[in-house]
């Protein structure tokens, strides 16, 4: 039983996610020390979970730190089903539905063609899963964790914010691509089966007209889709939306 006004205490209180993140930041050098160059996301998360799980200060914050935690959803009839794998979940006790979930994504990944931000994936395959309540449903908080591989956190932050707002950030003009790069891109484009450009320009929004405007590749791809995906495709109005759908 608690009485009185706790505002003086809450004003200086640090929440669980703040404290957990503080430990992650403190342990990050220990985690990266064993990782190879340009590690994949799962490899980073696995090592992070291993390192955090062994840290006595971090361990005080949770009952269990689970890698690839699968939260359950329930159908109206009460049938439980997995809502997909979250990257990491902090379980506070043995209660399965009370957890602090972390969806992890790499950012600013160095590659052959320079650094790729992956900010769009961060928003579309990360933040969106919280917005749609796929993860952390009925919970007050859900967290994203960005592994900034080139260490440039300020650029990563700007790009993620732009990705979330759906805008492109002001950036410096790109340097001219080398003839070899141009050749490689052309080769890729030529190899890729594509929809009829003339048909793509049409802006009709009925299912049949979409189907008729598809190339063989598009029809094959659509045949592979589940019913729900087909309906989503049918609802796609713009050319960009349809292309995104076909190429995802």
């Amino acid at each position: 039983m608690t009485e009185g006004d706790a505002s003086a205490w809450t004003a200086r209180f640090r929440t669980l996610d703040e404290r957990f993140l503080e430990r992650v930041v403190a342990l990050w050098p220990r985690c990266t020390a064993v990782l190879p160059k340009n590690p994949v996301e799962d490899m980073i998360t696995e090592n992070l979970v291993a390192v955090v799980g062994k840290d006595a200060q971090a361990r005080r914050l949770f009952h269990h730190l689970e890698y690839h935690y699968e939260p359950f959803g329930h159908t109206p009839r009460g049938l439980a089903f997995s809502k997909g794998k979250t990257d990491m979940a902090v379980l506070l006790d043995q209660e399965r539905d009370r957890y602090l979930v972390y969806e992890c994504k790499r950012l600013n990944v160095p590659g052959k063609d320079g650094i790729r931000s992956y900010a769009t994936e961060y928003v579309r395959c990360g933040v969106r899963r919280f917005v749609t309540e796929k993860y952390a449903a009925d919970l007050p908080i859900g967290c994203m964790l960005g592994y900034v591989l080139d260490g440039n956190t300020s650029t990563a932050r700007v790009k993620v914010l732009c990705g979330a707002r759906g805008t492109k950030e002001q950036r410096r003009p790109r340097r001219q691509a080398s003839p070899r790069t141009i050749h490689r891109i052309r080769a890729k484009v030529l190899k890729r089966p594509h929809t009829n450009p003339a048909a793509n320009r049409s802006n009709s929004d009925t299912h049949s007209s979409h189907s008729s405007s598809l190339s063989d590749f598009g029809r094959r791809k659509l045949a592979e889709c589940r019913q729900g995906d087909r309906m989503a495709w049918a609802g796609a109005r713009s050319v960009a939306e349809r292309q995104r759908f076909l190429w995802r």
Partner: protein, 217 residues
């Protein structure tokens, strides 16, 4: 296994080898150095990477809880007795240490035993700046009932009639928090202090979230 665990394992093996050699050299059994068992414990804790609070849970379990679960005939149960000064001090210290990290870097928690009688004690926690941090203190000049009545009138908060029936009573008053605790040793173990700190942090989480939700956007 990290380097800390490896070095602890090597030291443990060294200690055990040393003890075996001693036994083989002397046919008459020598009394064991009293520091050896605590040294063994310390190395085991290091081997498993236990922190201060993990160690408190293990030691309370081994020294107090397990012996009380199956007491020997004629032995009083230690968890039932009234906590002495050192128990209360250990509790206060563990509570302050466990609770302080939940607040910003400049904050600390002072623990004072405001009042007590034969059954109950009133503990006051004060959230202070780190420079004003004090060790656990006790004030023995006040009675629990009178202090609670004064607080109740001051804050205009109705209090439960029987604290034995209301577990974990907590009363916030500005930067102070009053807790009513039964004077039985099981409530004054270091593991109880850690549990109290966790329960308080959970309540503050809820209060923090509700406060934020109700703020005008």
């Amino acid at each position: 296994m990290d380097s800390n665990s490896r070095s602890a394992a090597a030291e443990l093996a060294g200690l055990i080898d040393e003890a075996r050699e001693r036994v083989q050299q002397n046919l008459i059994m020598q009394p064991t150095d009293k520091r050896v068992p605590s040294r063994l414990d310390e190395l085991c804790y290091r081997y498993f990477g236990l922190g201060k609070e993990d160690i408190a849970l293990v030691e309370d379990g081994v020294n107090d809880i397990i012996p009380s679960v199956q007491p020997r005939k004629g032995v009083s149960i230690s968890l039932w007795r009234t906590p002495d000064q050192s128990d209360r001090e250990a509790y206060g210290h563990a509570l302050a240490e466990s609770l302080s990290p939940w607040f910003d870097d400049g904050a600390a928690v002072n623990v004072v035993l405001e009042a007590r009688n034969d059954d109950m004690a009133l503990v006051r926690l004060r959230l202070v700046d780190r420079k004003s941090q004090r060790a656990y203190q006790e004030r023995s000049d006040q009675a629990v009932g009178a202090t609670l009545r004064r607080l109740s009138q001051q804050l205009n908060v109705p209090l439960p009639g029987n604290f034995q029936l209301v577990p974990d009573f907590r009363l916030f008053d500005g930067d102070s928090l009053y807790m009513v605790k039964p004077l039985q040793r099981r409530f004054w173990l270091r593991s109880a202090a850690i549990a109290d700190a966790d329960a308080l942090a959970t309540e503050l989480h809820d209060a923090d979230r509700i406060g934020k939700v109700s703020e005008p956007s």
